[in-house]
């Protein structure tokens, strides 16, 4: 049992935290970054690549840096702490995990170098208007056409799709809409004829898009693995996504909690610091307990995300998301309440953490969804 970072991990943490803190000295900086054409700073992204962050999860044979879940956790915590808007989650976690675990040698050779050097960004297009959080619910069609495929469908709320050069799209090759079999993951270049990306801002200062596929023709080399059994790969991508969101949430919550405690110490009413009131102290303590419990589950997520047993892994990551979601809500809401009026304003940093935390709850599965999955699995405490 060991909770320490290795020396290399410690160095990564120092450099990424310093970089994010420098890149995001103020809320105003974040506003400016988000207002750039891609919704983030292309310059920051280049510097991310120089730090090795864009190639972090790929193996050294693929030209990456061989980072694992702990390295991703370290980066995502820094992202969450500073509310960085660069598409690390969309590209380097979701998109890159699909490629890392699903791509053949030719696809790796073709795409990974660009990803590592920061010139190629990825996105994952999965959600559809009816699918909610079910990964097996796919209506988008992938019709076989000779050696290739023709994609037809509509994907929703695709994170950072407008900044991606390559979009990983789930589509159905066979079976009914909710059939676990028959789903493939396809690599669709952003300039593919018939692909339309309609971007918009998200509630938390990020970017997403509707992605429409109309008669998009792809070669046989555009599919990740077996075109009729992509669901296990999609599940693994979602699990890595949950582990990463957990770390981002912990980063954001710890920043928000620190802001709140600082505010309680400095804000004076009735002639004293409001932090001298026990009612407020106890709520700040409840936030801390939720944060520390969430941190434990983020660690658990990083440790379990590559576990060999698929059922055990799924239950573990669902339990992580439940705990994280509950903490996001408690810490976010309490922070606003303990701040009073200032917590309600667009000009206050804490309010932006609150909004991001609120949105994390609804990414890759909300609390009832994942609680049901844990309840059905029933394996966390073996009977």
């Amino acid at each position: 049992m060991d909770f320490d970072f290795s020396d290399e991990q410690g160095l990564l943490r120092d450099s990424i935290e310093r970089f994010c803190a420098d890149a995001y000295p103020s809320l105003e900086t974040r506003r400016r970054r988000a207002a750039e054409p891609l919704g983030f700073s292309a310059d920051n992204w280049r510097r991310f690549a120089e730090l090795g962050v864009c190639g972090l999860p790929f193996s050294e044979e693929d030209g990456g840096f061989g980072g694992g879940p702990v390295e991703t956790m370290i980066v995502m915590e820094a992202v969450g702490r500073t509310l960085a808007v660069e598409p690390f989650f969309a590209s380097t976690v979701l998109g890159a995990t699909a490629l890392r675990l699903g791509a053949d040698a030719a696809q790796r050779e073709r795409y990974i170098p660009g990803i590592v050097e920061g010139t190629l960004r990825l996105a994952l297009a999965h959600t559809e208007r009816q699918s909610r959080y079910d990964l097996h619910d796919v209506a988008t069609q992938a019709r076989r056409d000779g050696d290739g495929f023709v994609l037809e469908g509509h994907k929703s709320v695709v994170l950072n799709a407008d900044a991606a050069g390559l979009i990983v799209v789930s589509a159905r090759v066979s079976g009914d809409r909710r059939d676990p079999a028959g789903i493939g993951l396809f690599l669709v270049p952003a300039d593919a004829p018939g692909l339309t990306v309609q971007p918009y801002p998200t509630q938390d200062g990020g970017r997403a898009a509707e992605v429409m596929l109309a008669d998009v023709r792809l070669g046989g080399d555009a599919v990740l693995g077996d075109p009729e059994s992509g669901l296990p790969l999609l599940r693994r991508v979602a699990e890595h996504g949950i582990a990463a969101l957990a770390a981002e949430a912990v980063g954001s919550m710890s920043a928000l909690h620190a802001l709140t405690v600082e505010y309680l110490k400095t804000r004076k009413q009735f002639g004293v610091a409001v932090g001298s009131f026990q009612a407020l102290q106890h709520r700040a303590v409840d936030m801390l307990i939720a944060l520390e419990q969430a941190r434990s589950m983020a660690i658990y997520g990083a440790m379990m995300v590559d576990a060999a047993d698929a059922d055990e892994r799924a239950a573990a990551l669902s339990s992580v998301k439940v705990q994280i979601n509950k903490a996001c809500r408690l810490v976010g809401q309490e922070a606003v309440q303990l701040h009073g009026g200032i917590g309600m304003t667009m000009e206050y940093l804490g309010a932006h953490h609150f909004k991001r935390l609120a949105m994390i709850e609804y990414q890759l599965g909300d609390t009832p969804f994942h609680l049901r999955r844990v309840a059905d699995a029933g394996v966390l405490v073996a009977a």
């Binding site: 049992m1 419990q293 434990s296 660690i299 439940v322 705990q323 309840a375 029933g378 966390l380």
Partner: protein, 399 residues
């Protein structure tokens, strides 16, 4: 970073697990698992089996029977005892009095008391709380006035757990009446057979005799029964409370309860199937399990940080473990009561043997409500959860 135990730690876990299941009588473990009260004989028997193996007081100094274990080994040991439903070594002997005496007592006291405490030849109880001194322990009023070679003790202690079995009581008493309230307190050990001591039972709400009031009426206590220095008792008490919080989260206990709830739910008829077919019930169990998994890792994080030596100051992180750990212990008893459902109302007389007039034929349902009732105490004792909040607010948040 790695959550798994090392091969050595895993081997140690298996060793403790096997020992618990093979050597501690099944009948004792059944009573613990079902939440039925243990008799003094059960507790003594279990502790002597552990002591014979050298495992009754592993956290004591090695010269007094302790084991040179890492914090992780201690954690594994405690959790395995809980999960096997083995009664923990008598807490007042092993987790409170023993460590205080080993640290602050003189050689004669250690030789006289420690071996007997480890083997439960003497049963110790705790004389801290008073009617007017609960969370505000330092306002205690029981006084000890020096008279030649003796102290004369007058006053009243309360919530004295299992004091009805006790041979000895360790007390906080006021010896300096002019000093600030924490400064005038001493740590005194008193023979329970001394003239002037009266023990009156307090029956707790579930109907059991677990706690007592202890009255002291001009009780003469030899001065050699003073532990450490006069008027330094508060420091020793703080040291003791830090020890008390070790393992306070009781993860293994709640795990054992959850496992049992799942087993019982699969056999509890409900509608067309069993309670375990009820998705809402399963979700409520899952919610507790998830929080428990998080707390288990939080506990391991705290354990991994612990140095070898016990700190004199309580780690505020242990307050966090106490708060959430007690809430989860209570949540498990709520789930059990929910599982018992309408049958939980029944309170038939029990003789400890099988009976055929049990409500619905279920042999466990009558213990569900008493267990729920009794477990309300866990967020009150050992420093109430509100006190723990204060400790964290001050010690960690600096408020």
């Amino acid at each position: 970073m790695d959550l798994r135990f090392t091969p050595e730690e895993a081997a140690f876990r298996d060793e403790v697990r096997t020992f618990c299941r093979e050597k501690i009588p099944a009948e004792i473990r059944r009573k613990v698992s079902e939440g039925r009260g243990l008799g003094k004989d059960d507790i003594v028997a279990a502790q002597r089996i552990l002591n014979a193996r050298g495992w009754a007081v592993p956290h004591w100094p090695t010269e007094w029977g302790g084991q040179d274990w890492t914090p992780i080994q201690r954690y594994i040991y405690t959790e395995e005892l809980f999960q096997a439903a083995v009664p923990l070594p008598q807490q007042f002997n092993c987790y409170m009095f023993g460590p205080v005496l080993a640290t602050f007592g003189n050689q004669a006291q250690k030789e006289r008391f420690l071996p007997r405490a480890a083997n439960l030849d003497d049963w110790w109880c705790q004389g801290f709380s008073e009617p007017g001194a609960g969370s505000d322990l330092a306002s205690l009023k029981t006084k000890a006035v020096r008279d030649g070679d003796h102290y004369v003790v007058d006053g009243q202690k309360t919530w004295t757990t299992l004091g009805q079995h006790a041979d000895w009581i360790f007390c906080l008493v006021r010896t300096d009446f002019a000093a600030k309230k924490q400064r005038g307190i001493s740590f005194l050990v008193i023979d329970m057979t001394s003239p002037g001591i009266t023990v009156r039972p307090i029956i707790t709400l579930e109907g059991r005799h677990e706690v007592n009031e202890v009255f002291f009426d001009s009780v003469r206590v030899p001065v050699e029964n003073l532990v450490g220095e006069e008027n330094r008792g508060w420091d020793y008490a703080k040291f003791l409370l830090a020890n008390e919080r070790t393992g306070i989260a009781r993860i293994g206990l709640t795990k054992e309860r959850i496992q049992r709830i799942k087993r019982l739910a699969r056999a509890m008829p409900a509608g067309p199937g069993t309670m375990w077919d009820d998705a809402d019930f399963r979700a409520r169990v899952a919610e507790v399990e998830i929080e428990l998994k998080a707390l288990e890792i939080t506990q391991m994080r705290v354990t991994a940080k612990q140095g070898r030596a016990d700190s004199v100051e309580p780690d505020p992180a242990s307050s966090l473990l106490k708060v959430r750990g007690s809430e989860l212990q209570q949540a498990a008893t709520e789930l059990l009561l929910e599982l018992a459902g309408p049958f939980g109302l029944a309170a038939p007389a029990r003789d400890g043997q099988g009976r055929n007039d049990l409500p619905g034929g279920f042999d466990w349902v009558d213990a569900a409500a008493p267990s729920y009732f009794n477990n309300r105490k866990v967020s009150i004792y050992g420093g109430s959860n509100e006190i723990q909040h204060n400790v964290i607010a001050k010690g960690i948040l600096g408020l």
